[in-house]
Symmetry: C2
Subunit: 197 residues, 2 copies
DNA sequence: GTCTATACACCGATAGAC
DNA sequence: GTCTATCGGTGTATAGAC
């Protein structure tokens, strides 16, 4: 294969270059701060101080840019998750990631976009499956280490943790807080009992 | 107050009329099937067989239409939830509503839109708070009826139920199912023990 | 690599006739 | 109530010079 571009022979900029990263950074900021409606090639260019045309030199289409934005982010997150498996207290670290690196606004936007963009949907599926597998591995190891059994199987616990963390993050951004402390305490106590320290 | 329209003196169509409902129905279908990017006055008009101009006779702006669409829907949902309190097995019925009336695609779109549209955000907050209050009431009553205490306070249980139901609905639409059966069984067993029948 | 310039489509919203 | 017609703005994406 001499050419990477099978769909188009337009000249393209190299992935991973400075501009390439700057454009994805700018796109992420716009998506977080202003939402999907503001995520346009013009605004990205304006934000990082280049001309609009250049966006189409680094990304074939806007949809490509969006998929790449999610892909870059999910790779970083999966790497962080995998590293927790080697740490002393994996469950604490995974819960920290769930609570603090979950930007509900960004996730809402990506979810809505995933319905429309096939490539993004595939990336989202891959991310959910991989991160769940890592969490299940950590939970299973913790159960074995403490010689305990759980009423809820590891995969079920992983779903509860991630979905509650996301819901709390979303509601906090909206300004709703009722019941948050209650459930956080329960989850943290459970983790403490399973992964003492 | 002689005039309802304080922001604009443009002539407006009556809320609740046939066209008014048809437009909101069409808007909902578009949002569910094609996403926010396709939700335009032209497409709504085309879908229900009227001219685009008519949309602006019934709704002052597109944002107004979107807020009204969520409002109409959340009112119906809250009414259904309130009715469960008078039923024989409230917890079963609430869980049914959580699982089956939760359209993850629609909710993703509304959440993303809520970041941009202030009026929609206010409606979303109101809906979350009201529905949580109803759920807490049902759970508290069930605990008293069975003379039980829960490790997790009612508000925490409500958060777990709604957030897990939403996560499962979202993942099912994506085609991810690992762990779903595990957690569903646990929740359903818990409800059965609290609200036997 | 980066630019100017631009084709072309679609959008929100309105004026004013019938 | 519903229509035709339209304005001004913004979007994606490309051609081709430098």
């Amino acid at each position: 294969m001499k050419q990477d571009q099978v769909k188009s022979d337009r000249r393209m900029g190299p992935p991973g270059s400075e501009n390439w990263h700057a454009m994805l950074d700018g796109a992420e900021d716009i998506l977080r701060e202003e939402g999907h409606a503001a995520l346009t090639s013009r605004r990205i260019a304006e934000r990082i101080g280049v001309k609009q045309r250049l966006v189409y030199y680094y990304f074939r289409t806007m949809d490509d840019l969006i998929v790449e934005m999610f892909h870059r982010r999910s790779e970083m997150e999966l790497t962080r998750l995998r590293e927790t498996l080697k740490a002393e207290h994996p469950l604490h670290e995974i819960w920290e990631i769930c609570i603090h690196s979950t930007d509900a606004r960004l996730i809402s936007e990506f979810m809505a976009l995933a319905s429309r963009i096939d490539g993004l949907r595939a990336e989202v599926i891959r991310f959910i499956e991989e991160s769940r597998a890592i969490q299940v591995e950590a939970i299973t190891a913790a159960l074995e280490r403490t010689s305990r059994t759980s009423l809820i199987p590891p995969a079920g616990l992983a779903i509860v943790a991630t979905s509650v963390a996301l819901a709390i993050s979303r509601e906090e951004q909206l300004g709703v807080t009722s019941g948050h402390g209650d459930i956080m305490t329960v989850i943290e106590d459970f983790i403490a009992s399973l992964d003492p320290g």
